[in-house]
Point group: C2
Chain length 250, copies 2
């Protein structure tokens, strides 16, 4: 079956290698306007986006992203959950807001993510490449300081944007039945789980990854090298403390 949108959506891939030229401000503005039509909780738009193109600021910001290759993009857009702007409007309108709790934070995180994903799509459909930098929540306090993020504002992701330096290869995905379930969550057996991940384990680039890292299984690359407890626990505590420092009650 082939739907009208399939040609773009089934082929898209993340870009990590960018040309040095930045897209024009006019194009960026236009993309952001379109991204702002993404759904948002109660139409409150509990998010902000900070666009960094200044070379000195980019250099500092890249440091917070461990100078990973994709952070070398000419534009970094820091996506923030933001209850502050809406709260201020409430306070100036004889209204008492209550968004500094977990529900307010969740609404703001979801608003920010939906905007970010629409920005990804719009940017890619207009010839740009993008990469989502998950390192944002690791170094949120440092990023907040660099971008002057006040209380009520939390960076949750960063979109690296630029013209693709090379056509990226698509990575593998789990089969549909691993992720989408009918009516209720299935009670998979161990054998079924291994079966669902079989293609992932055998994907050539992944198999190479295992050898290069001197591991026995692909899963060990994730648990021992990419997302080990020894760093994800301290980064979790750091982000938790940051949420409190930004004025959220959890």
């Amino acid at each position: 079956m082939s739907t009208p949108s399939a040609s773009y959506f089934s082929r898209r891939a993340t870009v990590r290698n960018f040309k040095p030229e930045a897209p024009s401000r006019e194009l960026l503005r236009d993309l952001m306007e379109q991204a702002m039509r993404a759904p948002t909780t109660g139409n409150m738009q509990l998010y902000s986006a900070i666009v960094t193109t200044d070379s000195q600021k980019l250099d500092t910001l890249r440091g917070a992203h461990f100078r990973q290759p994709a952070s070398m993009a000419p534009v970094l857009v820091t996506i923030c959950a933001d209850v502050r702007r809406f709260e201020r409007w409430c306070e100036l309108s004889q209204a008492e807001p209550a968004f500094r709790n977990l529900q307010g934070l969740m609404a703001a995180i979801l608003d920010a993510s939906l905007f970010a994903q629409q920005l990804t799509t719009v940017a890619e459909m207009n010839g740009l490449g993008t990469c989502w930098l998950g390192t944002t929540t690791y170094n949120a306090p440092e990023i907040a300081e660099m971008l002057h993020l006040p209380s009520g504002v939390v960076p949750i992701g960063t979109l690296a944007i630029g013209y693709p330096g090379a056509q990226p290869e698509q990575c593998e995905r789990l089969p549909l039945e691993a992720v989408v379930y009918d009516e209720e969550y299935p009670d998979h057996s161990d054998r079924e789980i291994l079966e669902l991940f079989k293609a992932k384990d055998e994907f050539p680039a992944n198999a190479k990854f295992v050898t290069e890292n001197g591991k026995q299984t692909l899963a060990q690359v994730f648990t021992d090298i990419r997302y080990p407890k020894s760093t994800s626990d301290p980064f979790s505590k750091k982000f938790h403390d940051f949420l409190l420092a930004q004025g959220f009650e959890l």
Copy 2:
């Protein structure tokens, strides 16, 4: 300036009124396949989607969404942050996962949201209408019970999907300069904040909303009726307890 994607993205609007006929399973599968190409943290796909079309199950699920009009859609897709499947694969592959912390939860929430937003876009581009039900985090424990969501799985949003019953009207958005900032977060004055929200305050449907609810300002409709502290605080505590019950350490 007009970019190729503008015709869809600048015009899209949320649908809350659906025809009774459900889209075919074949179409739904195809949309999900395309949505699965959305970016995901480390390609771990820390999310699941549960598709409800059974009329009895739909009825129960609608109850958890307060029977809001959009929940009457013929298809409800519950979007879940899900570290469980990936963890199980790790454990079966001689690897020790550490995703039950705040960083793991954030990665899973972002993965789930990006998938959901790509599903929104793909569905709408193929003639369907969608509405994001934010009520999911209010009644997460009830929804988890209905859908048999095990430990490690948290519903974060629900996408109502169906053929539009009526062409929806677009609601207003804040001006771009209210949401997207160059280089750093601006220090808005009170007057500037009110200026940025002026069009929202004056939008005819919003002005009507204020009168109908017997309020003085639009902001009061949000703080006193839609998101009052008296419900958002208890719903926050309920969701927090649920996250702990699903095995996350916060």
